[in-house]
C-alpha cells in the first residue's frame, strides 16, 4: 500500500474527529438516524396523520351540533337497562377512552376487551373483528346488546323523544310521533323471540321511524367520536426535532434507552409490519394465536366479522347509509375469504398504550412486558420478533412510553 492510499484511508476518521471536536454538535450515537430510518420515522409521527377522512355514509359526521349532541348521548346512562351504563362506561374519558378490565362489562360481561376510541375515525373496520364499517353503525351495536346497554331501539327512541326532542329536531328535523311508544324491549333480535315478536307488532312505518331515530343517534355519537384524536407525544416531538435538524436536542427529548427502543421498533423487531402509520396500526386483522382462558368459547374474530358486516342492515350499502355503491369502497372491495381470517383480530393503535392496560382482545396480558415476551416467543411469520434480548425488551417498553400524549376530544 502506498503512503498516499494509507493517508486516504484516514480521511473519514479525521472527519469524524473534527465533528466530535466542534462544540455544540456533540456525538449523538443512539440519536443518529439514517435517511431511510428518518423516512420510516416520518410515516409514524403525528404530522403524517391526514385530516379525519370523511364518512360518506354519515351526512352528520362533521356537523358540530351533531357532535355536541352526540357527546351528551355518549355519556347519558339513561340509554341503558339499569340506568348505570353509558358509552363512557367502557370508553372512559379518564382512561384513554377504554377501561381497565380484561373483558368489557356493561349490564353483563362481554367476550372481549373494550377498544380505545383514539383515532377510531380513521379505521375502515370497527371492533376487534371489524363487524362494523362505520362509527355510527358501531355505536348502535352495544345499545341492543344484552350484556352492554341492554336496551332496544324502541327504548332509545323513547329516551330521545322524552329528553332530547328540541336538540334532535334542530339537527335531524321533526321527530316522528310513534304511537304507543313505551320503554318496550322491542327489537329485531335473533337472540330474543319475545322482543322480536314485539317489534313485528309495530307497523312498517313505525319501525322505519324508530330505526331512523336510532340511526340518527348513532350518527350523532359518531360525530362526537370523530373528535377523539391523539395529541402530540414525546415521540412526535423527537421526530420533529430530527426533521428540523435540531439533533443536539434529541438527547433532551429521549433518553438513550428510549432511542434504542425506537430503533428496535422500526428495525429488528419489525413492529411496523402491523403497527404502521401515525396511529401505529394498519387497521387489518391478524391471528397471533394469543392464548385465551379455557372457559372462553373459540372466537373466530374477523372470519365471523366479515359475515356480520356483510349482513348488517346498518352497513354502508344499507338503507340508512347516506351513500351507496362503490363509494362504500372499503365494503365493496372487502376480502370475503373468511378462511384467511379465522381467529384474526384487528391491530390496535399504540398511541397512549402504556396508560391503558390490560392488553389484547380478551385482556390476556396485564403488562406491556407480558405482551413483548409473548411476541418474543411467537413463531408466527407476521410477528418475527424472535431474537430480542432482555435489554431489547426493556428498551422497547421504554420507547412505548413515549407514545403517550394528550388525547383531544370535543369538550362540553
Amino acid at each position: 500500500m502506498t503512503s498516499i492510499k494509507r493517508f486516504q484511508s484516514l480521511i473519514p476518521l479525521v472527519g469524524l474527529l473534527l465533528v466530535l471536536a466542534i462544540p455544540g454538535t456533540g456525538f449523538t450515537g443512539v440519536h443518529e438516524w439514517s435517511p431511510e430510518e428518518v423516512r420510516t420515522l416520518k410515516t409514524l409521527w403525528i404530522k403524517s396523520l391526514p385530516p379525519v377522512p370523511p364518512d360518506p355514509s354519515n351526512a352528520y359526521g362533521d356537523d358540530e351540533h351533531a357532535a355536541s349532541l352526540g357527546r351528551k348521548f355518549f355519556f347519558d346512562k339513561r340509554f341503558s337497562g339499569n340506568a348505570k351504563v353509558s358509552c363512557g362506561t367502557c370508553h372512559r374519558e379518564d382512561y384513554a377512552f377504554t377501561d381497565d378490565l380484561p373483558l368489557a362489562h356493561g349490564m353483563g360481561t362481554t367476550g372481549r376487551r373494550s377498544m380505545t376510541l383514539i383515532g377510531s375515525a380513521y379505521y375502515p373496520w370497527l371492533f376487534w373483528d371489524g363487524r362494523k364499517d362505520s362509527l355510527w353503525s358501531q355505536a348502535l351495536g352495544p345499545l341492543e346488546s344484552t350484556v352492554e346497554h341492554g336496551i332496544s331501539r324502541v327504548f332509545v327512541a323513547s329516551v330521545v323523544l322524552e329528553h332530547y326532542r328540541e336538540e334532535y329536531e334542530k339537527i335531524f328535523g321533526p321527530l316522528p310521533t310513534v304511537e304507543k311508544l313505551g320503554q318496550l324491549p322491542a327489537r329485531p333480535a335473533a337472540d330474543d323471540p319475545s322482543a322480536y315478536k314485539a317489534w313485528l307488532k309495530y307497523s312498517l312505518e313505525d319501525r322505519e321511524a324508530v330505526n331512523r331515530v336510532y340511526v340518527n343517534l348513532g350518527k350523532a355519537i359518531a360525530a362526537y367520536v370523530r373528535t377523539i384524536l391523539p395529541g402530540v407525544s414525546r415521540f412526535d416531538e423527537y421526530v420533529a426535532a430530527i426533521d428540523e435538524g435540531q439533533t443536539g436536542e434529541l438527547g433532551d427529548i429521549f433518553n438513550e434507552q428510549e432511542a434504542q427502543g425506537l430503533r428496535i421498533f422500526i428495525g429488528k423487531a419489525k413492529c411496523t409490519n402491523c403497527h404502521s402509520g401515525s396511529l401505529f396500526s394498519n387497521g387489518e386483522f391478524h391471528n397471533l394465536d394469543i392464548p385465551v382462558s379455557d372457559k372462553m368459547p373459540f372466537d373466530a374474530g374477523r372470519a365471523e366479522g366479515i359475515n356480520l358486516v356483510l349482513g348488517d342492515e346498518f352497513n354502508c350499502l344499507g338503507p340508512f347509509s347516506d351513500t351507496k355503491g362503490k363509494k362504500c369502497q372499503q365494503l365493496w372491495f372487502m376480502d370475503t375469504d373468511t378462511r384467511k381470517y379465522n381467529g384474526a383480530m384487528k391491530t390496535p393503535t399504540l398511541r397512549n398504550v402504556v396508560e391503558r392496560p390490560p392488553y389484547m382482545h380478551a385482556g390476556q396480558f396485564s403488562t406491556i412486558n407480558e405482551v413483548l415476551d409473548f411476541y418474543r416467543r411467537s413463531e408466527n411469520p407476521d410477528i418475527e420478533h424472535q431474537g430480542l434480548t432482555d435489554r431489547d425488551m426493556r428498551a422497547l417498553e421504554a420507547f412505548l412510553g413515549t407514545l403517550s400524549g394528550p388525547i383531544l376530544s370535543l369538550g362540553e
Binding site: C274, W332, D335, P381
Partner: protein, 278 residues
Amino acid sequence: MKRVMLGILILGIAGWVGCATTPSAHDDGDMHIPMTQHYEGSLFKATENGEFSVEVLLPDEKVEMGVNKVDLIIHSKEDKDVAGARITVTPWMPSMDHGVMEKPVVNEKGGGLYNVKNVVFTMTGDWELRLEITSGSTTDTVKIPMPPIGAMGHTHFMKAPDTSQIDTSMENDSMKGHFTVSFKSDVHPVPINRLHSWNLSVESADGKPVKNARIKILGDMPEHGHGFPTEPEVSGTMEDGKYMVEGLKFSMPGWWVVTFHITAGEMMDHVSFNLLLQ
C-alpha cells in the same frame, strides 16, 4: 422447481424407452396386479367405470394458489400404459361448485405419461382435478382431490432474497411471452394501508394493445403467506390495451408479489410484479 424438471426429464426418458411404469417388477417377471400405484407419493385413483387408473404426480407433493404443473400417468384396466389418449383436465372447487377460466394444456410424453401445464387454482381451499379420458372408443372420468391449499395462501413461507436482487420493474413480459404488461399507480409511491387504483397496460408480443382481455389479480407476501386484505377488481377494457385495477391495498411494508392472470382470445398467460414497500 429443479426437482420437478428432473422428475419430468426422468419420466420423459422412461417414456422414451417404452414404459413409464419402469418398476423392477417387469425385470423380475412378476405379474402386475391391475390398478396398481406405481409411484410413491402419487395421487392414485381408478376412473368411475374402472376403465383406467390415474396417477397424479405433484411437484413436492403439493399444489399452490396460482399456476401449477402436474404429471399424469394413465394405465388401462389391464395395467398397460395408455398412449394417445385425449384428456381434458378441469380444476374444480366442489364447495363453491365452480372451476376456473384458465384451461390446462395437456401434452403427451409417451409411455402413458402426460404433462399438464397451466393448472390454475384461484383461491385457497379444497380443489379437485376432474379428468375425462378417451382412448379409442373408451371414455371414462375421474375426480381426484388435491391436497388442500393452505388457509394462509400457501403453507410454507419464503425467505426474502436479498432485496437488492429483487426486480421491481413496473413493466414485465408474461411467463410464456404472450404479453408485455406495465402498471401505473394513481398514488406515488405505491402506498401502504390505503385503497388505490392502478392503470394496467397490456400489449401483445408484437406491441399491439390487447383488447377485451379477462384479467384476474392475485397478491402475495411470500414471507408471510398472505395476500391482499381486499378483493381488487380489474375492469373491462377502458381503451385499447388499458385496464383499471381498483381496490388495491397493501397492509404491510415489505416484499409483495402481484400477479395478473390474463386471458385474451386463445392466449392465456400470467405476469408478476415485485414491490418493495416501505
